[in-house]
């Protein structure tokens, strides 16, 4: 980490009328990376995006792009492409005029600009002969125009604000793949804001998870999935996300569950082995795909099946255990016998989080 990063965000903060939207954010992005800013609405990710675009000025902190401080540079001098959630295509201009707008602003000659428009439209898979107005296009096509408009200026940074949220489910899957492919082809450093973890996992090289104006974790998708830093992330990433079972260490060997039932798990999952003092409250993350169901046996957790959903390739079993609802993913065809059933977590190091702070407890080994 001796080299200066392409984009660096240093302790950037912003508050609106006394409410803090961003606490000191630090984030580095390498050139050519695809980074997702992931979090629920109101987490500050859009504020951060607007600061990068220059549409908002941070209260403090610094944004550097390619070595230069751009914190107070007005947006029209940044050469940063921005794609809005609602696309923000100029309704009074044709599609080509929309894409050409930024080139005109550079004072580019007509021939060159037209060639660049063709190139940008082709890049997003649109017919360059398109002479229609934006409102005559479908949502998916409008989005392609918005992307073409942003990449036509060959931006130093491409910002995507919830680019898929206005599309229907089928289109969303298709476009997210296209976004990734477009990024592979152009190599433009891209930052995408999204509230959809599946979208972030599928497209980004690295994901910055935000909550309540803070950056919780900045990690590659697999790392984020395997080693969530907080209970919030564990309960947010994955489909369905990890089950968070509230537990209190009863003694060195067993946990007490909500409602008072005791659970004596496999030794690897015991409070003693994980360094949890008796009486401490934790949350144990149990991934739905790692849980097994079966008849009563040592180490199991007693439960009762509430519902079974069939999703095609698998069953999603909803089990009531210790006054908590846990979901279990099983391959289609697995025999399920209920309603009373036992749950078996994997016998490796569990993901345990402090019940109060939400922070991950260190693994013992």
């Amino acid at each position: 980490m001796t080299e200066t990063p392409y984009l660096s965000i240093r302790s950037v903060g912003k508050s609106y009328r006394g409410v803090t939207a961003l606490h000191d954010i630090d984030l580095d992005v390498e050139q050519g990376a695809f980074v997702a800013l992931l979090g629920p609405s109101g987490c500050g990710k859009s504020t951060l995006l607007q600061i990068l675009a220059g549409l908002l000025e941070p209260d403090h902190g610094e944004v550097r792009l390619a070595g230069a401080d751009i914190t107070r540079l007005p947006p029209w001098k940044r050469n940063i492409g921005l794609v809005f959630q609602n696309y923000a295509l100029f309704p009074h201009l044709s599609i080509r005029q929309n894409v050409r707008f930024g080139l005109d602003m550079m004072g580019m000659g007509a021939t060159e600009a037209e060639a660049r428009v063709d190139e940008a439209l082709a890049m997003v898979g649109l017919d360059p002969g398109l002479s229609r107005r934006p409102d005559e296009l479908s949502g998916g096509q409008q989005q392609r125009v918005a992307i073409a408009r942003a990449i036509a200026i060959r931006p130093r940074l491409l910002l995507l604000d919830e680019p898929l949220s206005n599309l229907d489910a089928v289109l969303r899957q298709k476009v997210r793949l296209e976004l990734r492919e477009l990024h592979n082809r152009t190599g433009i450093t891209t930052i995408m804001v999204t509230h959809d973890q599946a979208e972030a996992l599928a497209t980004a090289d690295r994901i910055a998870v935000m909550e309540a104006g803070r950056l919780l974790q900045y990690e590659a998708p697999q790392g984020l999935y395997r080693n969530p830093a907080t209970a919030f992330i564990a309960g947010f990433i994955g489909n369905p996300a990890a089950n968070l079972l509230p537990v209190i260490a009863h003694d060195g060997a067993s946990w007490s569950l909500p409602g008072g039932a005791l659970w004596q798990p496999d030794a690897a999952l015991s409070p003693a082995r994980n360094g949890v003092a008796t009486g401490a409250a934790c949350r144990m993350a149990l991934r739905p795909e790692t849980l097994a169901l079966g008849p009563a046996a040592p180490g199991g957790l007693a439960g009762r099946i509430a519902a079974v959903e069939f999703t095609g390739g698998e069953h999603l079993v909803h089990v009531e255990a210790g006054q908590t609802r846990l979901s279990v993913r099983l391959p289609a065809g697995t025999p399920i016998e209920g309603p009373d059933i036992w749950l078996f977590p994997p016998k490796e190091g569990p993901l345990l989080f402090d019940a109060n702070t939400g922070r991950r407890l260190p693994n013992p080994n």
Partner: protein, 263 residues
């Protein structure tokens, strides 16, 4: 059967009400072609003589000129002030924005005659009664709320993200204004210009109180004649022309930019 009958019945009722609204205007246009000295129905003969008389009548000509001049000046000032204020209110979202909006739109809800009585006595104190600046000031005041209401709605409809998008594409504020905001606000600007001009041109309530003898607009002249001499055919002819002009403006405005939606 029953629904078809009730459909037809409701159509008849609706058309009757519409006819009632439009009847006076239609009668005004129709009766301008009556050739007699006093309008009577059915007319004995039709002629264009009152139009000719109207256009040659020096008093009416000067009144029409005054109305036009007053309308144009007041409209330009009102639309300019209203557009600036509306842009500030919508984009700047100042702290007391709602109160300011209520202030700008107040003349739409408060009775103008009451205000005009007050203005008359203030103008008298200041020696502004019957002066052109006094009249312009009054007309700007009564037309500005119409323009402000239309422009506030217009700017609210323009997505600020369009302006942000233009900025991110390298457009400095002046280019954003020229190439994005103004073209998108144009229908609103034209609507408010048309409405403001019509309101100023056709106003009688305020103008008749403060116009004095020097700047008699057409509606004021007509109103004072009506009270002293009754209706005369020349007035009808000019009135008909103005009404036709108004209808054309409204219909064109409606077709081109859905003017009534903005009222």
């Amino acid at each position: 059967m029953r629904t078809r009958l009730s459909d037809a019945l409701s159509l008849v009722v609706v058309l009757t009400i519409l006819l009632f609204i439009l009847a006076p205007i239609l009668v005004l246009i129709f009766s301008a072609f009556d050739g007699g000295n006093i309008f009577r129905f059915p007319p004995r003969f039709y002629s264009l003589r009152w139009f000719e008389a109207a256009l040659n009548h020096p008093e009416y000509r000067s009144s029409l000129w005054i109305s036009t001049l007053l309308g144009v000046i007041s409209t330009l000032i009102a639309v300019t002030l209203a557009s600036l204020a509306a842009f500030g209110l919508v984009r700047g979202r100042p702290r007391y924005g709602l109160a300011l909006e209520v202030l700008l739109l107040a003349p739409l809800t408060l009775p103008l005659v009451v205000w005009a009585i007050a203005l008359l006595s203030i103008y008298a104190e200041l020696g502004m009664n019957g002066t052109l600046p006094g009249l312009i000031l009054a007309h700007v005041t009564i037309t500005l709320p119409f323009a402000a209401r239309i422009m506030i709605a217009t700017f609210k409809e323009i997505d600020p993200r369009l302006e942000a998008a233009a900025k991110s594409l390298g457009a400095p504020p002046s280019a954003v204004l020229r190439r994005i905001t103004l073209p998108l606000a144009l229908p609103g600007l034209l609507s408010s210009t048309a409405i403001a001009f019509l309101v100023s041109f056709n106003d009688v309530v305020v103008t008749t109180l403060i116009a004095g003898a020097g700047w008699i607009t057409f509606p004021v002249r007509t109103f004072s004649r009506l009270r002293t001499e009754g209706i005369d055919p020349t007035t009808i002819a000019i009135g008909a022309m103005i009404v036709v002009f108004t209808i054309v403006l409204i219909v064109v405005g409606q077709r081109l930019f859905q003017l009534s939606r903005r009222l």
